[in-house]
Symmetry: D2
Subunit: 371 residues, 4 copies
Amino acid sequence: MNHDRPNEYPIPNTMKAWVLGNPEELTLVDKPVPQPGPAEVLVRVDAIAVCATDVEILKHGLPALIDGELPFNRGFTPGHEYMGTVVRLGPTVDEFEIGDRIAVEVHAGCGRCQRCREGMYTSCLNYGYRDKGHRANGFSTDGGFAEYAVNNVNTMVHVPDDMSDEEATLIVTSGTAMYGLDVMGGIIAGEGVVVTGPGPIGLMGVGVAKALGAEPVILTGTRRRRLETGKRLGADQVVNVNEQDPVEAVRHITSGKGAQYVLECSGAPNALNEAARMVSRGGRICLAAFPADPVPVDLAYLVRNNIYVFGIRGEGKSATHRAAALMAQKRFDAKLIHTHTFPLAEVPTAIKYARERIEDAIKVVVKIREG
Amino acid sequence: MNHDRPNEYPIPNTMKAWVLGNPEELTLVDKPVPQPGPAEVLVRVDAIAVCATDVEILKHGLPALIDGELPFNRGFTPGHEYMGTVVRLGPTVDEFEIGDRIAVEVHAGCGRCQRCREGMYTSCLNYGYRDKGHRANGFSTDGGFAEYAVNNVNTMVHVPDDMSDEEATLIVTSGTAMYGLDVMGGIIAGEGVVVTGPGPIGLMGVGVAKALGAEPVILTGTRRRRLETGKRLGADQVVNVNEQDPVEAVRHITSGKGAQYVLECSGAPNALNEAARMVSRGGRICLAAFPADPVPVDLAYLVRNNIYVFGIRGEGKSATHRAAALMAQKRFDAKLIHTHTFPLAEVPTAIKYARERIEDAIKVVVKIREG
Amino acid sequence: MNHDRPNEYPIPNTMKAWVLGNPEELTLVDKPVPQPGPAEVLVRVDAIAVCATDVEILKHGLPALIDGELPFNRGFTPGHEYMGTVVRLGPTVDEFEIGDRIAVEVHAGCGRCQRCREGMYTSCLNYGYRDKGHRANGFSTDGGFAEYAVNNVNTMVHVPDDMSDEEATLIVTSGTAMYGLDVMGGIIAGEGVVVTGPGPIGLMGVGVAKALGAEPVILTGTRRRRLETGKRLGADQVVNVNEQDPVEAVRHITSGKGAQYVLECSGAPNALNEAARMVSRGGRICLAAFPADPVPVDLAYLVRNNIYVFGIRGEGKSATHRAAALMAQKRFDAKLIHTHTFPLAEVPTAIKYARERIEDAIKVVVKIREG
Amino acid sequence: MNHDRPNEYPIPNTMKAWVLGNPEELTLVDKPVPQPGPAEVLVRVDAIAVCATDVEILKHGLPALIDGELPFNRGFTPGHEYMGTVVRLGPTVDEFEIGDRIAVEVHAGCGRCQRCREGMYTSCLNYGYRDKGHRANGFSTDGGFAEYAVNNVNTMVHVPDDMSDEEATLIVTSGTAMYGLDVMGGIIAGEGVVVTGPGPIGLMGVGVAKALGAEPVILTGTRRRRLETGKRLGADQVVNVNEQDPVEAVRHITSGKGAQYVLECSGAPNALNEAARMVSRGGRICLAAFPADPVPVDLAYLVRNNIYVFGIRGEGKSATHRAAALMAQKRFDAKLIHTHTFPLAEVPTAIKYARERIEDAIKVVVKIREG
């Protein structure tokens, strides 16, 4: 416990929050500060990172549609990669104390459907039904491009004192990468892992895979600077697909055997076919990204080679906790992917930087409060 | 032990065996009877079923190419779905006795590669390297369209006295279906399972799924007679895709929730996309068949809905033993898929019947010896 | 849906319910009918079975103590193996309709602790904290020796029209047996399973194991009549430990190899040591019962033989749903263990019969309402 | 590949080897250098560590008796924790080259029994049957207290150039610790792990657990110096059980919640009961050590708290490869447990040091050849 922090925080009645009008229309408004219910707390949002999915939501609405309802013109506040300070406890909460610094994961499952009951809360069958207990802040419930947000206690993880607000916003991204490795088996020390696509999840995937002892960790991509960042995060080898055939490169690096795992983070049209040829017979592939439209897939190759393909959305199985632990232990330097910072008033600019990769932006963070 | 059986069998020096010349050229020749090595036995083949893969091998060669080597004009004997009688024991064998009736599974892994070491012997990294201990009879080593064959003891399962030779040839097909259910999790009582495609594996999949308590078991296909056979094997519902949209039908049958599992046995171009829409969020799909060429796949749907896809080849994890146990316990009537019988001399006719589905052939059995 | 059932039920303000005073003191009182909260329904209890744990609770209090609080003199109503009719829906409930017949499982986890989050809700770390959402009816919240009870929707399973009230009370017992098989791996077709102890869980374990294709299923015990019941439930072999050494018997039946699994349901002092010698190297044992006091255990044997031991309490991982499916499909005749029936007014007599095994009572059911 | 190494090694016909006569009688003799068979290589033993099990074998014979056969007076050479140089390849071997430095794991399964077929080769049902392919060097086949030994290729792992011979002998010990963590689930980042007993396996368990991100890692023991070594290997907290009650200490360190996992390496009579109270409800315990005689165990506690107990013998599931990878990546300093070194001629002295913990010996290494 940090004895310097206050045990009470003044909480206003209203707050600044960005809300979504028509597609692509974000407006900064005054909204009532929300009230935490049972098992929930009020979080003062201190910083939030922009995710590519935020851009999708602005444009197209939610990735998992709820009875066709779209978020437009409903006063919805997006943003899901945030961290902050616990400032009010809902009824029955003793898992956190006022003043705790926390980072979030996205999904609070309903707790009553078959999937939640089996621990697969990111696949909650009541996705989007707030009344039934489901929350996916920034997706189906209000998110973090605002001064305050409400979180279920099971969507929060403690942030150590020596981790900056900016770095803490990256925990959820690391958690997604970690979940991808977990669903493929999770026991990866000494195994070859290829990460395809050096976006934020891919780069964190490199960091997590190396932290867990994977070897070799191979990163493929097109941008030299990002591949360099991948090296600093722990990649043993990087492959610039503009210069080398990535399948051949992986086969060469692994002495012809192929890797055990591919964490696909590029969403490129041929990524799955290539991934299949990067793994050895019986290998596994996690799809953490995807092309917008259907793409030709060589299913015969998957079947003949006993390959398993795992689609994931989000950061289930409490992977955020494991990722946070590795980051707290300084096993990899997540900060390397944080490239730009803006204040709350400039969320649209922040999103523009992330979207257009201005100045080779990787992770753009909105710092809402001085830490 | 059956006390009526002889404990010694006269074994000739040569045997009748079909061998592959050029593509599609099968010739009945005299070949030396092979000798079992350590951990191997000599099996007198009593009956063998024709598999769709046999047809592929005749036409195109092996599905898992070994350094580009093709089986043509090498004196190779195809056929992998056989049963017979143990007539000679190789050195060190005490797992079986002379006179035992047995059915086979295909893969004897090398026992020394990473995959075999982890129990994934159907993904053996030394596939095709006979010298290293790998055998896949009918694929990379001589198979069962012959009077005798050699088998590793770990590829055999006992056949009870009251099971006919013909039925015993179907154990390996049931084993493949069972393996498909196993890789998706295996604990399926009370869960919805859709089997797409009423070929032999699909129909056995219906039988196994129902035997293990799945509910509802839904079978989709185009041929009325096969769907009827599916019902007799335990399908709670059948869907004729010529008459109904199969995704809508499954959604309707499951009250909108979708099934938990799909065992894809059709190889239809849109089968995976449809399967993805048949399962609920977080559902699982096993691909036991595949289209010959790449097909458009909506990967975004897989990712957004946390769907896992398992390619399988063969009948790993000793699924053959479990399938044999269910058949011995008469949990489903595998014999329903056995439609035609021919003698050894008529293997080409048997294959023709299976290939062209003459008289709606499902499983065509070659009976080599009177049982 | 059963169109004959009413869609509204008259619900009184008070109900008859048994409450616990001092240890062993049960009194029938009038209590207010409870109100279902969010995700909960009001169940009209139609029948309830007596469990050995009920006797323990009467005598000693709860098996998982909550901060030392005992249930005595708090107006607590025990009883957890019940079934009934949904008569009122709490807010947000659409999983069930008024008039649905249901059976229950015990544990509604808190949904917010690490264990619930990973799907291990029977190990909820907030066990007993009603305020945090945990319910274990008949343990930490009011149970079913009463006319009405409140249940979370995730603790209920549908009962088919053709299953009697009495049989439906046995679902939860079957669920516990099924969970025991699940935690050991769950894929048991063709594998040897020994059930030690022919109490209710053991006998249901025989039924479930056989339904899933285990072979051989061996039941050990001392009472001839119960072993006979075991045979009728599917045991391939029974061993009377008064007449045979059970370890030798199992070794003999399995041709010296030992079984794959033991489901220990006797609680006998030497049961674990014997179970270890019944399984083959690498075998697994589930402890579903236990001796009251510490007993000598040969840990060296467990370690040297790579044996895993799984303690279970209750019926986690939705095993109740799977058990209910097998019972609905009439895979085994659970009714064979139902030996006696009493009305609500005679709960103490019912418990006495169960406790003292009067007239060789196995399952004693209290029928609260005519079905 | 190290280009400096020779590609041919002179191999004598005979070698120096220690053999076991009567219990406790070790004699240095001249023996023929063994010949590698298929899938085997000849290893020039360069260094070997003494294990507590070696002492047991000298005294009592093999831990897994083979039909009652004891190793005494059979010319058996013990020793299983060795490393060396590949100097001759058996038929078909291409996994290694002459000149490769390797470390070993113990068990080459038979590859044909049910356990090997499922990847559980340390539980091989043909344990001790050399003819059937099983090898457990230093247990049932000749080990490494000799100049040469034969190893199956699946029992060897590459040693990097910058790892000393002495350190490489510790790989198998780390592998055992890693296997213990693997069988409990293996995904341990951010989870509390208690290691009880600071012997070699326990200390390596600390190193591996910390390398994989466990937190906190707590080590309990009695010897101050060993606990200090544990701290240097990564323990966040150490508990001297002579000074503190270890259960209370663990509960205190974990803020009352308990740890997730206990790796029991002490073999103390009350260790399992204490471990059960160290973990939270639903926690897991691996027994990597054991008391010689049966001890009182509170099974009721295990059952009531859903605790799983995993007995392990050896280093299955290729854990040695994963441990070697972490050591090659210098994730923990295994060398800290290497305390003494002797030449081949002084094996009895080396064993005496290890056995009597002379000068607080932890790992005593016999250096057979100058590296």
